[in-house]
């Protein structure tokens, strides 16, 4: 039991009040402290380490794919079946098991309680269960490498009927484990997601109104709501497909002849799966993007020493983007043969979503304008994100139009587009966020030189990979192909560009290894971080100790007096005023004016 007393003596605006005690679970052994821990910070690190580990597997898979694409007929150990398995596992791992888990399970767990001024998540036990179910989901997914036939090679969208028919790699066990793993992931996420949402709504400290929340929390909060509403569609789709594969039902399987044999399936609708998948799949883009939007807003404001431009607009834009993301899903299905009027509707909604998104980009740029920009490593990554997101977003406008999408749909253009907007852009934010909050988590700074090397190789390398890939798409180079063969329709430059892209991909991959090394090396050898090294305002930097201890805020919970963006306030003693600094105190002289 922790005594929680809001001591506001000497502060005019906040009457002294005693808040009921908060029951905190105190670990009694090493196992309950570090393994089956109920502390959100430990759970966050568990999520992050697991997600990064499985993400490294996906990175290696991408190297193997690039080996094949860049240098076909060279590596005999990569068969067409392997290639499809690489594609499938790379895509699914990166989107679900890395990005979703890292943004919500990792950053969500670490930052929400600290930023809203809570001691922990509201349901710590359920939070712990959430991680362990996530880990189980990852292990089930990895297990598919060790079963007959290997993992599924159905493509990350797992479209039936192909995904469960003979000839598709992993048809025996791989697809079953993949679907089971997804179902587990969703159950685990729902437990965590309920925690994040309820903590934001119910456990904010006194004075922390919704409109004083850092945008990071807003991004994670709305993304979690999206995920809670979107994942049931994937759950339903996965269970139905699993039943089709295991019990022979025909939810998605039409009457079909396979190798001359009429299968017992009949009457199912493959398009129905696509609708369910993309009803989840498109919000998933924003489940990843919204936390990135929020985090990047905080990084830019802190490292440009300027209040975020248009805070209220930014919040509303996050909410509106979240809402609109549920009515654009069929723009992934223009070539599925659906009614053309549907296509028109979804093209319109897709273009509309560009409005609040562009608004955010303008606001980031306007925040930078005449700011005191510090080109720290988090700031470099944040700037890299803005540029990359704009590039990826603009090609999204191309693909959102039916007539442009149809010829480009099955080409490398699409691969380049979604890697820019959903792969590179959010991962740049992840890196920026890690450089920003690593001192808080570990008490040490990451190595600056290695960090700059990591940024420049990753940022420039990503462009060397994906800009040429757009061109390949224009040339008509198809995606999903194991090799182009001797097709005359592609110029020789397509093959040499593919080799070039592969070399760039290896360089970028190497930079990630350097980053991992930096993470581990700096834990012991990094420069000790001073308190609040970025001179930030939000509450996570105002804890009693750094790294924050169990219960986050020592004996007293902080009281919040202002929004988190009071940077460079004219007349103030310092260029930042923490959220828990009362008006009228020496550091916040200007706020009273």
């Amino acid at each position: 039991m922790v005594d929680v007393v809001h001591d506001a003596v000497g502060v005019d605006d906040v009457p002294a009040a005693e808040v009921e005690d908060v029951e905190l679970y105190h670990a009694k052994s090493w196992i309950t402290k570090y393994v089956f821990s109920q502390d959100a910070k430990v759970i966050a690190i568990q999520y992050s380490v697991t997600a990064t580990s499985i993400g490294l597997v996906a990175l290696v898979l991408s190297w193997l794919m690039r080996l094949q694409l860049g240098f076909p007929d060279t590596f005999s150990f990569i068969t067409p079946q392997d290639y499809y398995q690489f594609i499938t596992m790379h895509g699914m791992i990166m989107v679900i098991y890395l990005l979703t888990a890292l943004f919500l399970g990792g950053f969500g767990n670490y930052l929400i309680p600290l930023m809203v001024g809570a001691r922990d998540m509201v349901f710590p036990y359920v939070n712990m269960l959430s991680y362990w179910i996530y880990l189980l989901a990852v292990l089930v997914l990895v297990a598919s490498y060790f079963v007959p036939g290997g993992p599924t090679g159905a493509g990350w969208t797992l479209y039936p009927p192909q995904s469960i028919l003979s000839g598709t790699p992993g048809r025996e066990w791989g697809i079953i484990l993949m679907l089971g793993s997804l179902a587990l992931f969703i159950v685990g996420f729902t437990m965590g997601g309920l925690n994040y949402v309820v903590t934001v709504l119910q456990a904010r400290t006194r004075g922390m109104t919704l409109m004083r929340l850092p945008l990071t929390v807003w991004g994670i909060f709305v993304a979690t709501i999206l995920a809670l509403l979107a994942f049931p569609a994937l759950f339903v789709g996965a269970i139905m497909l699993l039943l089709d594969r295991v019990l022979g039902t025909s939810f998605f399987m039409p009457s079909i002849v396979e190798l001359g044999e009429h299968l017992k399936y009949g009457g199912g609708s493959p398009i129905l799966f696509q609708h369910l998948f993309w009803f989840f799949g498109h919000p998933e883009v924003y489940i990843v993007a919204l936390p990135a939007f929020g985090i990047v807003s905080d990084l830019i404001s802190t490292h440009a020493r300027k209040n975020i431009f248009g805070y209220r607009m930014m919040v509303w834009a996050i909410v509106i983007i979240g809402g609109l993301s549920f009515v654009v899903w069929a723009h992934h299905m223009y070539v599925s043969g659906m009614n053309p009027y549907f296509g028109f509707f979804f093209a319109t909604t897709t273009l509309i979503i560009a409005v609040p998104t562009a608004l955010k980009v303008y606001n980031w740029v306007l925040t930078l304008w005449r700011g005191d920009i510090h080109l720290t490593i988090p700031m470099l990554f944040a700037l890299g994100f803005i540029v990359t997101f704009v590039n990826g977003g603009i090609t999204g406008l191309f693909l959102g139009n039916v007539v442009v999408d149809v010829p480009l749909s099955d080409t490398m253009f699409v691969v380049a587009h979604f890697h820019m907007v959903m792969g590179v852009a959010p991962i740049l934010v992840v890196f920026g966020a890690i450089y920003h909050w690593y001192p808080l988590m570990s008490g040490r700074m990451l190595n600056e030189g290695l960090g700059r090397f990591h940024f420049w190789v990753t940022f420039l390398g990503a462009y060397l990979i994906y800009f040429p890939m757009h061109y390949l798409g224009f040339l008509g180079v198809p995606r999903r192909y194991f090799e182009l063969g001797d097709a005359d329709i592609y110029s020789q430059s397509a093959a040499s560009l593919n080799a070039f892209i592969s070399l760039a991909a290896f360089a970028v991959g190497f930079a990630q290894i350097v980053f991992i090394f930096n993470l581990i090396w700096s834990l012991r050898h990094g420069r000790p971080a001073e308190r609040n090294p970025w001179r930030a305002n939000s509450l996570e930097w105002q804890t009693a100790e750094m790294p924050p201890g169990h219960g986050n805020f020592g004996k007293e919970l902080p009281v919040v007096y202002r929004w988190p963006y009071d940077y460079s306030v004219p007349g103030a003693d310092q260029d930042f005023i923490p959220q828990n600094q009362p008006a009228g105190t020496p550091g916040a002289r200007a706020a009273k004016a």
Binding site: N195, A203, R206, P232, M240, S250, F251
Partner: protein, 220 residues
């Protein structure tokens, strides 16, 4: 302060707007957390069943749709679930009035009727499986098993929460400690009843109702 008013706040403005916001923000309301969590969970489960109903409707619009054979047990099961909800509501009223006996009886009856509903559903599944028209590739039959199965799983989850409240009752907890648990269980029971009534009326009572709806919308 309602949600939208909060979103209209201007946090960058100086006092006195700030001071007022501070006063109104109040203290953390942790006791409300389980209620909010249940509301969100009900939202998630609603989407799940909505997706299933949509998928069912989408499939039903096809020409080759074959309705599932009927089992009479479903009507009796429906009655069981209605009784379960009534009993839980009784427990909730009793908790409000401070009548411990009513709480005990209502909770016990609510759990028992829910268990009877689950057993009834299992019998209905077995009955359907033995029918001549049973065919796993008939989407109507597969949907029936899937949707009713997921509904039963949700009810079993509710029974776990119910057991936790029962455990408190057996340990002799005061009525004030039970009030929230009973209220949340009751709310969840009502939710599952409403879901079941929609599913039963729309999907599993002969398809006439849904067929008429689809015809009205010009889908079928």
């Amino acid at each position: 302060m309602n949600f939208f008013r909060q979103l209209a706040e201007k946090p960058w403005l100086p006092e006195p707007v700030w001071a007022q916001a501070l006063r109104e923000a109040g203290a953390p309301a942790r006791q409300a957390a389980p209620r909010v969590a249940l509301s969100f969970f009900i939202g998630v489960a609603s989407i799940l069943f909505f997706m299933l109903v949509t998928a069912y409707v989408g499939r039903m619009a096809f020409e080759d749709w074959r309705p599932a054979p009927q089992t009479g047990l479903l009507r009796q099961n429906t009655v069981m679930l209605v009784f379960a909800s009534i009993a839980m509501q009784w427990a909730r009223f009793s908790a409000r009035r401070g009548q411990m006996d009513g709480v005990k009886l209502g909770m016990l009856a609510g759990g028992a009727f829910a268990a009877a509903f689950i057993m009834g559903q299992v019998l209905a599944w077995r009955q359907l499986a033995t029918m001549t028209f049973f065919d796993a590739t008939n989407p109507a039959i597969a949907f029936f098993y899937l949707i009713t199965g997921l509904h039963v799983i949700h009810l079993i989850g509710g029974l776990v929460a119910w057991l936790l409240v029962q455990d408190k009752i057996w340990r002799g907890a005061e009525i004030a400690e039970l009030r929230q648990g009973v209220a949340l269980c009751t709310r969840y029971w009502h939710f599952l009843l409403i879901v079941w009534l929609v599913l039963f009326w729309l999907l599993f009572s002969g398809n006439d109702n849904l067929g008429i709806l689809l015809a009205l919308c010009g889908i079928r």
